[in-house]
């Protein structure tokens, strides 16, 4: 009786018809990689947003030989440039970086010499300004500055913001490509497993087909099983990826000052360790791999059945 009861749920006797040992593991590996790619893409976006919000509109002006007068009895070059910048419409908050903060910035490169005045070269003055909505035309600004203090360099945040944006765009595109490839590999893994199952049950399928089974009757049997196995793999992969992502999140938090690197409440620290999308990834990936399993199995079985009249 046990034998009979066991097969009753399996209406047409194809339940055990799939090589199913490896499938969840392979899909789990794909799911894990997909989670990493997704996290990478999200992190790239977050870092870019963070950096860009600081860099956008920031203009740095280096004035060489700042102490030299502009003309005989004229003001110091640094002061003249500062006055010009303060008068330029569209620029705000122009100020000279203090020797102290300049020394702090340069310390990693120049060492203690940066601050104790023993440096054998004269440091330029560094003026920082924020450009408002309308950025001043760089060519006009350059020309004016060259008149007062030749050799002055203007470094606009906009130029490297564009480069940073290009970088994050390509990171996101790579992550999307990884997701697509990983999905295709998962689909192929399912297709291979289903094909093995079909080959193993060839005779039974021919008989059932001869008894009048529709292609959908047979395909659904395989698809249901493939869906369950793939979804299991998808869930496992995403769950295994979570701790790794939390750990990576901790590491990258130090680059993003606004991210909560140290939080006294451990629960909320964990919750905010990852973006919500990543916490949802186990659910997302379970659904996605279930879908991949179903579709890949349906397509494989229906294609295979074409050889039967």
């Amino acid at each position: 009786m046990a034998k009979r009861a066991a097969s009753r749920a399996d209406r047409i006797g194809l339940r055990a018809a799939m090589a199913d040992r490896l499938l969840p593991f392979m899909v789990a590996a794909m799911s894990f990689l997909a989670a990493l790619a997704l996290a990478g893409s999200i992190a790239a976006s977050a870092l870019a947003t963070h950096w860009l919000s600081g860099a956008q509109g920031l203009i740095t002006i280096e004035v060489p030989n700042p102490g030299q007068p502009v003309a005989a009895n004229g003001p110091r070059r640094a002061d003249a440039v500062l006055t010009l910048l303060q008068a330029t419409p569209g620029l705000a908050d122009a100020h000279v970086l203090s020797r102290q903060s300049l020394a702090t910035l340069l310390k990693p490169w120049l060492g203690a010499a940066a601050s104790d005045g023993t440096l054998p070269i004269a440091l330029p003055a560094v003026i920082v300004a924020h450009s408002r909505t309308a950025t001043p035309d760089p060519a006009t600004l350059d020309a004016k500055l060259a008149g007062i203090a030749p050799g002055t360099l203007v470094e606009s945040g906009a130029s490297w913001a564009a480069r940073l944006e290009a970088l994050t765009d390509s990171l996101r595109a790579s992550a999307a490509a990884v997701l697509v490839i990983v999905a295709l590999v998962a689909a192929s893994v399912v297709a291979v497993a289903v094909r093995a199952g079909l080959a193993q049950r060839r005779e039974a399928i021919e008989i059932i087909h001869g008894l009048g089974a529709l292609d959908s009757d047979i395909a659904n049997q395989f698809a249901r099983r493939a869906m369950r196995l793939a979804a299991t793999g998808g869930l496992i992969g995403a769950l295994v990826a979570l701790p790794v992502l939390v750990w990576l999140g901790r590491l990258s938090a130090s680059f993003v000052a606004s991210a909560p690197s140290i939080n006294t409440n451990p629960a909320s620290a964990l919750a905010s360790a990852l973006p919500p999308l990543l916490w949802a990834s186990p659910v997302l990936f379970t659904v996605a791999t279930a879908l991949i399993g179903w579709v890949a199995a349906q397509a494989t079985v229906r294609g295979w059945l074409k050889q039967l009249t």
């Binding site: 009786m1 034998k3 009979r4 097969s7 009753r8 209406r11 047409i12 006797g13 055990a16 005779e203 039974a204 008989i207 059932i208 087909h209 001869g210 008894l211 009048g212 089974a213 529709l214 292609d215 009757d217 009249t309």
Partner: protein
């Protein structure tokens, strides 16, 4: 109603040798077959081994397509059927294969239940019908045996039960008494003639001329792929 109009069948035997497919043009199994069987009719199909009996039945249970000619089955031109239509028509045709074709990993019970389950009958009905029919063919104590745990004759009776469980409109039996003793063969003929009286069209291919003599009915006789007698 079954109608064959100038049906020919040529097996293009394909031999796979290093991927090369060779075609033998001489594989003509049936030639210009022409006959009608009215709904509810009964026919014996006889002829020496290799005459084409199984081939003719295969055409009728839609396992192969004719090379030429036209076949109408249960009111349908078979050439016009799509995949779904073919499958649904197959469900109205019960087949007892010469080699049984039972599912090896399923019990006798599940093998017989298969056509009912494909038709999505309720499990309660399946249980009632399958147990009754298996009891009728003398297999009440064998419900949970798999084919490899059954004798040849028992397997044949399972195959017969599977063919008739859904009361098909057309019953095709290929040498159904080959593994049965005379007693069992008579019981089987009783089952088949009962179905026939209920309206099922029946065609039985056999070498057993004694059986044919005991159950008089029109005979279709094949010889080397040609119909040499019908009536």
């Amino acid at each position: 109603m079954i109608r064959f109009s100038h049906v020919g069948l040529n097996y293009r035997r394909t031999a796979q040798a290093g991927g090369i497919v060779s075609r033998h043009a001489d594989a003509t199994a049936l030639d210009d077959i022409d006959f009608d069987i009215p709904e509810g009719g009964f026919r014996w199909l006889t002829g020496p081994s290799g005459a084409g009996k199984t081939s003719l039945l295969k055409l009728m249970y839609l396992a192969i397509h004719p090379t030429n000619g036209r076949i109408d089955l249960l009111g349908t031109d078979t050439a016009k059927l799509d995949r779904r239509g073919t499958a649904l028509l197959r469900r109205r045709i019960g087949v007892v294969y010469q080699d049984f074709r039972l599912l090896r990993h399923l019990t006798a019970y599940d093998n017989v239940a298969l056509p009912m389950r494909l038709a999505r009958r309720k499990e309660a009905h399946v249980r009632a019908d399958v147990t009754e029919l298996l009891r009728w063919v003398g297999l009440a104590g064998r419900l949970d045996h798999r084919p490899d745990e059954l004798s040849g004759g028992e397997q044949q009776r399972v195959a017969i039960a599977r063919a008739v469980i859904t009361r098909p409109s057309l019953l095709l039996a290929d040498e159904p008494t080959g593994n049965l003793d005379d007693d069992q063969a008579e019981r089987l003929m009783h089952l088949i003639t009962s179905l026939n009286r209920l309206g099922t069209t029946v065609i039985v291919a056999t070498h057993n001329l004694g059986l044919v003599a005991r159950h008089p009915a029109p005979v279709m006789e094949l010889e080397a792929g040609r119909m040499v007698r019908h009536g």
